[in-house]
Structure formats: structure tokens, C-alpha cells
């Protein structure tokens, strides 16, 4: 008997997802937004793994690996953008100031 039932997993994932969502919405700093996004991605991945365990299928973990790759790419590109913005001499990393579509 595993420690987590499927329902518990989903509960945990939902709470994590909501916390991440709140973080994305409330924080203005790009670094924090990225971290919150990572939390949301982790919540999604957790659902896949839980479903895989529930129906005893390896596909859940395959999806976990794919989500991991997606998160890595997203983080790398996002951080590159942050570094680029910083190198341009932008005073803050406020996401709300980058609304003018000027590269």
C-alpha cells in the first residue's frame, strides 16, 4: 500500500499549482516569475506521475521526463532574457516595464 493515494496526489498538485499561479500573478520581478512557473510545471508533472502510478503505466514518467526537458528549456531561455535585459542597463527586472515591444 503506497503512502499516497491518487486523490492525495491530485490534492497536493492542485495546491502547488495554485500557489505557483498566485506567485506568477503577484510578483513583478522576472526571476520570481520564473520560479513560480517552475512550481506550476512541477505540479503538472506530479499529476502525470501520480496517474502513472495509479494505472501502473510508464507513460506517466515519460511525460515527466518531457516536462523536465520543457522546464529546462523554458528556464534557460527565460534566464537568458533576464541577463540580456540586465546587460542593456535596465534598472529593474520589473516585468511591467517591458511592455513596449522594443526588443
Amino acid at each position: 500500500m503506497p503512502a499516497f493515494s491518487f486523490n492525495d496526489t491530485l490534492l497536493l498538485a492542485t495546491v502547488l499549482f495554485s500557489v505557483g499561479l498566485a506567485g506568477v500573478l503577484v510578483r513583478r520581478d522576472l526571476v520570481f516569475m520564473l520560479m513560480s512557473l517552475d512550481i506550476m510545471l512541477n505540479a503538472a508533472a506530479l499529476v502525470f506521475v501520480g496517474a502513472g502510478a495509479r494505472w501502473h503505466d510508464a507513460t506517466g514518467q515519460v511525460m515527466f521526463v518531457l516536462i523536465l526537458a520543457l522546464a529546462a528549456v523554458e528556464t534557460a531561455v527565460g534566464l537568458a532574457i533576464i541577463v540580456c535585459l540586465h546587460a542593456r542597463g535596465r534598472p529593474t527586472l520589473d516585468a511591467d516595464t517591458g511592455n513596449l515591444l522594443r526588443g
Binding site: P2, A3, V49, A58, G60, Q61, V65, L68, L70
Partner: protein, 166 residues
């Protein structure tokens, strides 16, 4: 539910909450590491030890190191923390908090009918995952490799130090 499982879940949620409320970026990163480690524990308890390994190695290891490096490069200091405090005014939490709570409540409500029979006994090993990855989903793996390549190239392109402006 085991006490350990309860503990891990609590640590995960609390860590996540701490991540989104810290003012100093390095603190947030450390809390995020804690969250991810606790999540890895949860994954182990779900019988997905392979996924847990990846979580620790790639997420808590590699990706978090990336965050730390970037924060070091950005050289965020006291003024930033002060500004964060100003930005994290309680009123700023109102809208997002409400939205997130509603979403959470609705999701939980939806989940209710999903509670099903007990999970299958045996854990899923790396062997099964490998067979799945390079058997049925080999095309997916190729696509992901393209995605990684695209991410690599775009990160390189964006992060390149351009001499003489744009």
C-alpha cells in the same frame, strides 16, 4: 496516510508559499530547492523512484544552479529588496490571491469524482520508463531533442554580448 508522507506534502506546500513571498532572490531559490527535494520524496512514495532521481539531479541540481548563477550575475542588493517590499504590498495580493483560491477550489471540486480504487502495487522502474521512452515515444524524444536544441540556440543568441548596441 503515513506521517512521512504528510510531512513531505506539507513541506512542499509551505516551501512553495515561502518561494513566492520572499524578498531576497537567493532565499527564494533556497526555498525552491527545499520544495523540490520534498517533491522528490513525494515522488518516491508514489513509487516513481526514477522520476525522483531526475527531480533531484536535474531540477534541484542543474536548473537551480542556473538560477543561482544568474542571481549572482545580476548582483541584486539592498535596494532591490526594499523595492520588492514595496511591490509586495498586501493590497497587491488581493486579486491574485482571490483568483488562485478560486482556481484551487474549483479544481478540488472537480477532482472529487476521480477518487478511485487503490493504486497498483508494484513500482515503475527506470527499465519500464526507458522502454516507453525509446519504444512508443521515440518520436517524442526526437522532438524534445529539437526543443532542447532550439532552446540552446535561442539562449545563446539572446545572451550573446553584442558589441555596439543592438
Amino acid at each position: 496516510m503515513h506521517a512521512l508522507a504528510l510531512l513531505a506534502a506539507c513541506v512542499t506546500v509551505v516551501g512553495a508559499i515561502m518561494v513566492i513571498t520572499r524578498r531576497v532572490a537567493v532565499h527564494a531559490v533556497l526555498y525552491l530547492v527545499v520544495t523540490l527535494l520534498a517533491l522528490a520524496t513525494v515522488l518516491v512514495m508514489l513509487g516513481a523512484s526514477f522520476a525522483a532521481m531526475l527531480e533531484v539531479i536535474i531540477y534541484a541540481g542543474a536548473i537551480m544552479v542556473l538560477f543561482v548563477f544568474v542571481i549572482m550575475m545580476l548582483n541584486l542588493g539592498q535596494p532591490d529588496s526594499a523595492r520588492e517590499k514595496e511591490w509586495l504590498h498586501p493590497r497587491a495580493w488581493l486579486g491574485p490571491g482571490v483568483l488562485a483560491t478560486i482556481a484551487c477550489a474549483e479544481l478540488l471540486y472537480c477532482l472529487n469524482p476521480l477518487s478511485g480504487p487503490a493504486p497498483a502495487p508494484a513500482p515503475i522502474t527506470a527499465h519500464d520508463v526507458g522502454l516507453g521512452l525509446f519504444g512508443r515515444y521515440v518520436l517524442m524524444v526526437e522532438l524534445v531533442s529539437y526543443l532542447l536544441l532550439a532552446g540552446l540556440i535561442s539562449a545563446f543568441h539572446i545572451g550573446r554580448n553584442r558589441v555596439g548596441g543592438r
